[in-house]
Each structure stands twice: as C-alpha cells, then as structure tokens.
Amino acid sequence: MKTADDVQVLYDQAARDLCALGDPRLEELKWRIARSELQYHSVKPELLAELFHETLEWGNSAFAALRAGGFIQHQLTYFTWARLDARSKSYDFDILAAIEAIVAMQCRYFDLTPILPALERLAISIEDSAEREDLLDVCINAQHLFLVLVASVNSPDLFREYTALAKASHAYAWSTSLSEGGAACVSATIKGMVQALADRDAATAARAATYLRGMPIMPGVAPSQHLAERQAT
C-alpha cells in the first residue's frame, strides 16, 4: 500500500480543499457546523440528500465536499458533524498554533527566501479582505499562508498531521470567534509575522503565530499594544 509522500502533492490537495467553492446550498450548513449548532449524530449521504430534497448522487457529492472541508469527522464506527464547540476549537487551535510556532522557529535555520513571495502575496490578500471586513476570507487566506509555511519544512507526516486540523471548517470556526476589529488585527499580525520570517526573527514570528490562534480581540485596542501587553505579563 503506497501513500503519497510528496509534500507538493499533499499541499496542492490541502490548498484545493481549503479554497474549494462548494455548492452554495451547503454554505448555511457549514456555518451552522462552525457555530456548533447541530446535534452530533450519524451523518450519511442519505441524510444530506433528504435535508436538501436532493438525489443520493448529490448527497454523495455533498458528503465528499463536506468531508474534504473538515465539516464531517469520523468517530469509532460512524461519521458525524465536526465538533467545533468552544472547548474543542480551543484544543485544536492549540495544536495548530504549536505546529505553526515550531515551523516559524525554524526560519532561524532554514532559508525561507523561496516561499517569501507566496507568503507576501497571501499577506496582501489578507489585507485586502480585512479592508472589506470579510472575516471568512481573512481566515481562509491566513490558513492558506500557514499551509505554505508548514509545507516548507518538507515533512509529509508533519504536513498530514497539520492538515488533519487545518481545514476550511476550522477557518469558518475561527472567523466566528473573531469580534469587531478582528480582521484588521489578523492582517496586521500576519504582516508582522511575514516580516519577522523574512528577517529570520524566529521568536517574533513564533509569538505572532501563537497569538493569532488564541487571539482575544479587544475592540479599540491596537494589535501591537495588545501583543505588547500580553508579552509583558
């Protein structure tokens, strides 16, 4: 049995799944899952077809799309809506932040020059989305930027572990947890992180990465001030 060990192949798939434009009828369902509004019961294509008054073929396709986006998880013997309540989300974000921080720290040893243009392009996209106050777009692009960063380590196993959580579902859930001013704050922090990576300032890059995932937004407080206060404590 052969599994793909080429990080480029894995990255391409993860990026496609993250940015996939699904059936617009599924969007409301995705938001309900991200807000943890659904009961955790067995999910099958038949259920999706029934919910949307569609054919089983459509149900199969919708199931595959939701599964690829991380909106359907597996339990012991069945599939269910992703668990994205505050506690689960916090746990998952801690894991993501830990991986992102470790990878950011490695900029001290690795030359990130080849991936810097991609990171800078994504940082600009995040800035544009933040100006439009499009929180979901900000979070999807930020997640995409971290995919590029983690892929740069070129470790298929690490990348698989990372992408098990770094999915569209978590970007949706992330966007629901950001309050007013959150988009600008994420954008500013990402910009600072990319600059720190370019400068090989590992500690600042890792601090920014972990800050993003656990960011309690305070309206009216500048991100730099908030980060400085957190560092001081």
């Binding site: 049995m1 793909a4 798939q13 199969n60 599964r67 599939f79 098990a164």
Partner: protein, 66 residues
C-alpha cells in the same frame, strides 16, 4: 471523488483493528483496493492514511503465516 461506501468499509476495518489489533476477518484484497481508491481520490483522507500501513502489516503477517 471519494465514495462514502469506501469510507464506510475502511472505517469499519479501522475500528476492528483498534478493538482487536487485527483485520483478520476482512478481505485484504478488498481493503487494499478500497484504500488505494480513496487515497488516489484524496491523499489526505485520514481514515485511508491510517489504514494504509496497517494493511501493509496485515499483508506481511498473512505471508508469514503462509
């Protein structure tokens, strides 16, 4: 596109392995073909990715037993 039925088969086998540390009651050829199909549709499917090394091991054990 990943077929739900394929995922069901793999999840069932994975659960069996977690309970008994073996997939002896399953058709290895079927499991391998299913796993390969899922991984070719998406190399990031976690159930298939976890099953792949288990199937390699099960195949080796079957060969040792003759």
């Amino acid at each position: 596109m990943v077929q739900f039925h394929d995922l069901e088969i793999l999840l069932c086998a994975l659960h069996e392995f977690e309970m008994t540390e073996s997939v002896d009651g399953f058709d290895l050829d079927l499991l391998e073909a299913t796993c390969a199909r899922v991984l070719s549709a998406t190399p990031l499917e976690p159930v298939a990715f976890r099953m792949a090394p288990l199937l390699t091991h099960a195949r080796e054990m079957a060969a040792i037993r003759g």
